[in-house]
Symmetry: C2
Subunit: 320 residues, 2 copies
């Protein structure tokens, strides 16, 4: 099966709602290449380009992509096969009114820094349709003498919501602006399907980002994302929120107004999976999770914040 390419030039959304019109329709099992532009729609091309306040439209998500056969109550599995950079530079910025240290002494906003990407000394993403591999690529930030490994991730990925509307700046149960380092090549993310066709969209990729995304961005960059989508009908568990699978762990992902509330939700999801697997009550699963299920910070800025609870596969087989 050849990959079908879906470009952000065909369509992109800035809001996840219950009713989304697809720009493409694919079968369950389809392999896709989803092209995305940088989260700031190309507004930052040099350090003199700055963003004074959070734009009304940010984090363009290429799509929506209708997946045939997906019905409410199903689960949509998205395998992230590869993420290739399609620009030779990203950008990391501060914006007034945004970010963990907004308003702190010595923290200036707006500021923009360009992050050139190199692979064996060759610029990545030359614009001719050929894209260098990123496995050995590094980026730097102008003014700092350090090479940072390129580890691309998807910032915003989600589906049509159950009833609410969320801009692509906000993460919630439909996914959205999760800004989670585990949304990288080799991992899968599972969503509860709320609407017929699921209506998948993604964008807002980073060439690198730390857990926390403290200033409010990673190294924002255009990409081509290879994904495989699959509908899981009649799943054994009722999924309420996104769930990430890595080679080592299952990670329920929860967003909320505070990190504490997000921790509660992610832990609750984790212990329900552990309780079902080990046939114990939720209290015993809670005690067990306190020994094995690491709480991890995804992001602290979006303005809902996101946390995941990493349960090693040694203690949890496939929940579906």
């Amino acid at each position: 099966m050849s990959r079908r390419t879906i470009s952000h030039e065909t369509g992109a959304i800035y809001e996840f709602t219950p009713e989304l019109e697809p720009i493409a329709t694919v079968e369950s099992g389809a392999q896709l290449t989803v092209e995305t532009r940088d989260s700031l729609d190309g507004a930052i091309q040099s350090e003199s380009d700055v963003i004074e306040s959070v734009p009304a439209e940010v984090n363009a998500a290429t799509g929506p992509i209708e997946v045939e056969g997906a019905e409410p109550g199903d689960v949509l599995r998205v395998d992230i096969d590869d993420i290739r950079l399609t620009e030779d530079r990203g950008r990391v910025i501060s914006i007034e009114g945004f970010g963990l240290l907004d308003g702190h002494e010595g923290i200036e906003a707006p500021r923009s820094r360009i992050t050139p990407v190199e692979s064996d000394g060759v610029g990545v993403g030359d614009g001719n349709g050929e894209r260098a591999g990123t496995s050995d690529a590094t980026l730097s930030i102008e003014g700092i003498d350090a090479d940072v490994p390129v580890e691309p991730l998807i910032g915003t990925i989600g589906i049509a919501t159950e009833s609410e509307s969320h801009t692509t700046l906000v993460p919630h149960n439909h996914g959205g602006n999760l800004d989670t380092t585990d949304l990288c090549a080799g991992n899968s993310v599972y969503f509860p399907v709320f609407q017929a066709g699921a209506m998948l969209a993604m964008g807002d990729c980073k060439a690198a980002m730390a857990d926390g995304e403290m200033c409010g961005t990673g190294a924002e960059i255009g990409t081509a994302i290879d994904v495989t989508v699959a509908v899981l009908s009649d799943p054994e568990i009722e999924l309420e929120r996104p769930l990430i699978e890595t080679p080592e762990a299952w990670k329920p992902v929860a967003s909320a107004d505070t990190l504490e509330a997000a921790c509660e939700r992610a832990t609750r999801d984790a212990i329900e999976l552990l309780a079902a697997e080990h046939e114990v009550d939720t209290t015993d699963a809670y005690l067990f999770a306190s020994l094995v299920g690491d709480l991890e910070i995804s992001q602290v800025v979006d303005p809902l914040v996101t946390v995941r609870n990493a349960v090693p596969k040694a203690y949890l087989s496939a929940p579906f």
Copy 2:
């Protein structure tokens, strides 16, 4: 130099204050074995032993240990050389009024579960003074069929405070109940010295604990901790809070009322280290940290919560 043993039977504290009377005095560079009892002072020996509410005295910290020559403004370095279990079982518990999911539906408190420890099928810590190695040891939780690797850590470690008093239940700038998985063998922790002699104390060890310590405990257990202590005079940086060194990273550790506030403090510390190293202003260090400095959760329950910011050594040489 032979190791000097300091036992919890000689002295232990339940509160870190500015004025602490030492039970031992050692030189800078001393190698010590610090014996600790479990955080609940042996109250839980079977599942029928439960704790109805958080005890007034918990997390006995063996010490205080006066380190000769330590003066306010210095830094105390504590290398954690080894942590050996001295019991063949730990315990993980829920307590009413404590823990991330306290009061949630289906979460019962009090409950106690015993966590037997095995090493190649042999019980660890036979009470005869011989202690099995823990590198290949596992523990289990009664009722759940899973072996969990034994990865011992120090829950409570700290020094005399600047001016406040904190029980050993609470973490703050003096250390205290940090409940941080990185407080394990092979790592070092640095404290700002607030009082002459530093007055180091430690206890509250766990045979295993997840990042978060969601139920409020790990597998609480008695241990013998090998440490090396050293006074760093006239340090190049002014340390305000604990700093952990692992083989890969420097990790400022911050505690606060909320995870958000703790994230702000740990990030602030990290970017000040990065700014000094790379000779850039704090804003550029902030943007750089957002690409490389992972926020990590230590614990969410104590009742101040603790977070660390992990800056890879690739970007930060020794700050002292």
